[in-house]
Symmetry: C2
Subunit: 205 residues, 2 copies
C-alpha cells in the first residue's frame, strides 16, 4: 500500500517509512500496480486517476461539513493530522490553518516564496532580490533586500505568532521557513499523518 | 510655483491648494512654463526633466546620510513630513516607514493591491478574487476570498500595529486601506508637506 499527495508539480509518495517524489509531467500512474490512497489538487490528473482501479481518492472519506467548499484537500488533510496548533504549509502558496481541539477554526492563504519574489521583481527591477531568511525580525530594515524580506516574512510571522499556539511547519519550503519560525515543529509528512488517520477512521486499514 | 511628485504612472501636481494628476505617457513637461520643484522615481523621465531649466529636482536638497542609498525618493519625502509615526504609502508597492523624533528608523516594502491580486491569481485561478476590505480582522476566514484578503491585509495590519505608533496613510490607495487601518490618519498630500519642509530648510521659499 502506498500513500500519495499530488500537487501541481509532483506526486509525493509514502511507502511504509520511505517517501519519494515523482514529476507530474513525466510520471505515469499506471506503472504502479499496488493500492494507492491519494489526495490531489491537480485538476489535470483527475480523469486518469479516476480510471485506475488501484488508485483510491481519500477525499471521499472526509467529513466535508467540517470545512468550507473551496478549501484545498491538502489543507484539509493537514488539519486532520493536528489536534491543537497553527499549521503553515509552505509551497507554491503558503496556507495557514488553525486547529482547536481537533476542529478546523479557519485559515488564510499567503503567496509562496517564488511567487512573492516574482511579485516584487515585477513591481520594480530594483526589488529583484532573493529573500534573506537570516533577517533580524526585531529590527526595521535599512536596505532593499531586507525591506522586501521583512515585508514578506515579518508580516506573516507577526500574524501567525499572535495566535499563541504551537506552530507546525510542512510543505516543500518548511525547512527554509523554519529559519524564521524558530519555535515551529517541522513535519514534512504531516499530510500523510492526516491520511493515515482518515484511513483508520474509515476502517480501511 | 508648482510641486510635483512623479511616479511610474502619473505626475501628481500641487498648485497652491489644488492638486491634479497627469498621465506619464501623454503629458509633456515642456508645456509648463512656471517653476516646478519635483521628485521622481521614474527613470524614463530623467533626461527630459534634467534638460528643462524650470524643473528643479528637490532630491539634491536632501541630507542623504539619514537614509539608505537605494531608498525611493518618495519614501524619503514622506518621512521628511513626519516627526513621529508609521507611514503607509499604498501605491503599486506599499512602503511602510517608521519615523521617531524626526529620524528615519527603518522601513519595509510590501506588494501593492493590484500586484498582490495578480500574485494570487497566478498561483491558482481558484484564488482569482478581489480583496475584501470589509473583512473582519478578528476572525479566521472560512472562504477563499476572505482567506486571501486576510493573507494580504491582516498580516500587514498586525505588523504595522505592533509598533504602537500613530499611523499615517498616503498614496493612491490610501482611502481603501483606511477601511482596514481604521485608526490611521489619511493624508494624500503627505509628500507635498515633505517637499515644502525641504524647500523651507533649503531657504528656497
Amino acid at each position: 500500500m502506498l500513500l500519495c499527495d499530488i500537487g501541481n508539480t509532483s506526486y509525493h509518495f509514502l511507502d511504509e517509512e520511505n517517501d519519494f517524489k515523482e514529476d507530474v509531467l513525466t510520471f505515469n500512474p499506471q506503472t504502479i500496480k499496488e493500492k494507492v490512497y491519494y489526495i490531489s489538487v491537480n485538476k489535470n490528473l483527475e480523469n486518469i486517476l479516476q480510471s485506475l482501479e488501484n488508485w483510491i481518492d481519500l477525499s471521499a472519506f472526509i467529513d466535508k461539513e467540517k470545512y468550507y467548499k473551496t478549501m484545498g484537500i491538502d489543507r484539509v488533510l493537514a488539519v486532520e493530522a493536528v489536534d491543537n496548533g497553527i499549521i503553515i504549509d509552505a509551497g507554491s502558496a503558503v496556507t495557514v490553518d488553525v486547529v482547536k481541539e481537533g476542529k478546523f477554526a479557519g485559515g488564510f492563504i499567503y503567496p509562496g516564496m517564488a511567487a512573492m519574489q516574482k511579485t516584487y521583481k515585477d513591481i520594480s527591477p530594483a526589488l529583484d532580490y532573493s529573500f534573506n531568511f537570516e533577517l533580524n525580525l526585531d529590527k526595521m530594515p535599512k536596505n532593499s533586500q531586507d525591506a522586501i524580506s521583512y515585508g514578506y516574512l515579518k508580516t506573516l510571522y507577526c500574524e501567525v505568532m499572535s495566535h499563541k499556539m504551537p506552530v507546525i511547519l510542512t510543505g516543500g519550503d518548511a525547512a527554509v521557513f523554519a529559519k524564521i519560525f524558530k519555535e515551529a515543529t517541522v513535519d514534512e509528512r504531516l499530510i500523510f499523518t492526516g491520511m493515515k488517520k482518515i484511513l483508520q477512521k474509515a476502517d480501511i486499514c
